[in-house]
Symmetry: C3
Subunit: 145 residues, 3 copies
């Protein structure tokens, strides 16, 4: 059974931003001969995350507001006391971004049927940048027959 590893590279913007990476994942699947199996989508950073939901622009704004209320940037966090940690001075102040990431997903597995992602009608694979801007990568592993 072939196992094919790929990377998606993403340059993100300031703060929280959400990207639909479904077309890139589908293109990678199409570039293989795998017709039946699954794709593992794996977020490779501690302040990025994944969710599978509707790619509707107003909903994505609602999600940002929701996450900002859930883990407010302005709260006190021990992780943000850089002077008490052994880190460079330009280390980002981003405890809230880590907490948001833990509430979303790091790994998602999606079935592949007839060479296509077997998503529901309104589902898209959404990549969350929670502490941009940065250069980020998403690991894609396609396996099956």
């Amino acid at each position: 059974m072939p196992i094919i590893n790929k990377l998606i590279e993403i340059e993100t913007n300031q703060g929280i931003n959400i990207r639909n990476i479904t077309p890139q994942i589908q293109d990678l699947i199409t570039s293989t001969s795998i017709k039946n199996g699954q794709v593992l989508v794996f977020s490779r950073h501690t302040t990025t995350a994944l969710a599978i939901n509707e790619n509707e622009i107003r909903l994505l704004e609602d999600v940002k507001v929701f996450l900002q209320k859930l883990a407010p940037e302005s709260d006190k966090y021990l992780h943000n006391d850089l002077h008490l940690r052994d880190v460079p001075e330009d280390e980002p102040i981003n405890a809230h971004s880590h907490l948001m990431a833990m509430m979303l997903s790091t790994s998602e597995v999606i079935p592949i049927v007839d060479g296509k992602l077997a998503l529901g009608t309104w589902q898209s694979v959404l990549f969350f940048e929670l502490d941009g801007p940065r250069k980020r990568t998403v690991f894609i592993q396609i396996s099956g027959e």
Copy 2:
């Protein structure tokens, strides 16, 4: 290595409702010859979700109350301004349901050992309807040997 795809169909009730789909998943595994491997359980809707936890009726009520506090239906959401979106007039007002879904899971992978789901004693696979009533499907992919 065989890869077997199945669907579970579920008719749900009004609002939030939570179903234990463990017996249906186990029956599908038993109907195959796979004894060692894994099952991918994939929620196919943007207002349904999964969790693996205890199927205790009072706890399930606690989860509903918890989700309703986490993403209150009565909050203002941009996604709910249907007149600003290109959607039919009977589009559901359900931003809160999408947010709840993103806090739960879309994909879960569970090991299969000796033809059985290798769940812990108190674990069940729970399907969450977050915007019922609807006809829903859960994708089940069984793979192994």
Copy 3:
């Protein structure tokens, strides 16, 4: 394609505690001949969970505080009315622990490349005890070639 099942055993402390189980998972992978594939990490309890994030001691304290605010132990929960349930008298009062577990992960799948977990630089696999002290197990399934 070989599929290898292992268990990690963990003795936990009082209340919430978070352990980095990355070295144990890597050791199990190294003990097999699998160089390319994936590992399924599966939490086997309804009051334990997983997350993949940074193993920074001050951040882990922030996560505890965050979870305790999200699902306060002092809130009223139906699951905690032991006299209304058919359970032993020493059943734990732990609805909050179940809720925290559902907000985190039960299953995570991580790619293996060249015999190593393909985690990002700052990522660790974190095991969350949410209702300790207990003896716990994490199921590890390694598959690939």
